[in-house]
């Protein structure tokens, strides 16, 4: 049987979980210690959001699986995050551009989800919005600093935009799951977020003296469980402890 609330919550949770996991790879490797702490703080925020969302998804599913089961014991094609968030960290510019595109989407998304008729999702959105505002400020300022910085930093952030922009459209992916829940006032109609998203993107790019890539090429598939080649390595590392020592806790 279809369980739209479960699928919807899981999709949001997986975006947070996988981006949090990716960002946590920076721990101990940041360009300077202050930025190392900033990135891992953001990673922790995202994993915290994922925890709340996965706990709620587990309740919605009602099949005895816990949030940890959902996080650590699914197969690759059972994760429904967008392909953007699973992309490799690359250099610092790639990490920041990935984060910035995601934050720019998440900001209006959480603003809208606060008004969901589902009280639990609304509460998670309200709490997460405060964190996301900071994430967006942090990533936007870096885009401006790098774009309007040196020749080298401008080139790197521009290369990162070319690499990642094609994944941005999938953030707005909707299907029957969304349509059903929109009609009940639970889900956000993502099309309504596009003006706010585009406005923020252009506002920052203008200050950064950058432009969006010409290419209109778009990639998607994550919401159906189709992932890019690096995703398998990511979940192998993320799941290692639960796979090697089933049911372990600490």
């Amino acid at each position: 049987m279809k369980n739209n609330l479960f699928t919807y919550t899981l999709r949001i949770a997986d975006d947070s979980l996988i981006l949090g996991q990716r960002l946590s790879e920076w721990c101990g490797h940041g360009p300077i210690i202050e930025e190392d702490i900033a990135l891992t703080n953001i990673a922790l925020d995202l994993i915290g959001q994922a925890t709340s969302l996965l706990e709620y998804a587990a309740v919605a599913e009602n099949k005895g699986r816990s949030a940890d089961d959902l996080a650590f014991l699914r197969f690759e094609n059972q994760y429904f995050n967008t392909q953007l968030v699973e992309q490799k960290n690359g250099d610092f510019a790639v990490t920041i551009v990935r984060q910035w595109i995601f934050d720019t989407f998440r900001l209006p998304f959480y603003e809208a989800l606060q008004h969901s008729s589902d009280k639990q999702l609304a509460a998670i959105a309200e709490k997460s919005l405060k964190e996301t505002k900071y994430h967006w400020k942090h990533s936007s300022e870096w885009i401006i600093r790098m774009g309007d910085g040196t020749e080298e930093s401008n080139k790197r952030v521009n290369d990162a935009l070319i690499l990642l922009w094609k994944f941005s459209d999938e953030l707005f992916y909707m299907d029957d799951v969304d349509k059903e829940l929109i009609s009940q006032g639970i889900a956000v109609d993502l099309e309504t977020l596009r003006p706010a998203f585009n406005e923020r993107i252009h506002y920052v790019l203008q200050q950064a003296t950058l432009q969006l890539p010409d290419s209109k090429w778009k990639l998607s598939g994550g919401r159906q469980g189709r992932h890019t080649e690096h995703f398998g390595h990511l979940i192998a590392e993320m799941q290692y402890m639960q796979r090697a020592y089933p049911n372990m806790e600490w």
Partner: protein, 95 residues
């Protein structure tokens, strides 16, 4: 910027309303905005504060340790400057 290193900033945190900002340490940052964010991430992760000031360390003009005899020692012999010779009336609450 001359060198490769980002400038150093001194960080001051107000822990709650009514208290003063206190020096808590320093961080590196390329500009003032980044300095506030880095200070937030490094020094307020455990709810230590509600307000942050940052000052570029190079803007701080400090007393010379070599002058400390002249600057501070004369105060040691002037105990009458401490308000310890007054009776505090019972009606006065916490001072």
């Amino acid at each position: 910027m001359a060198g490769k290193e980002w400038p150093l900033w001194e960080v001051f945190i107000r822990s709650k309303q009514g208290l003063n900002h206190k020096h808590v340490g320093s961080i590196h940052a390329a500009d003032a905005e980044m300095a506030v964010e880095n200070a937030r991430d490094v020094y307020t992760r455990r709810s230590e504060g509600i307000s942050i000031w940052v000052v570029e360390s190079s803007q701080v003009f400090a007393s010379d340790p070599a002058d400390s005899d002249a600057l501070f020692e004369p105060a040691n012999s002037k105990i009458y400057r401490h308000p310890t010779f007054y009776e505090v009336p019972d009606g006065v609450g916490h001072m």
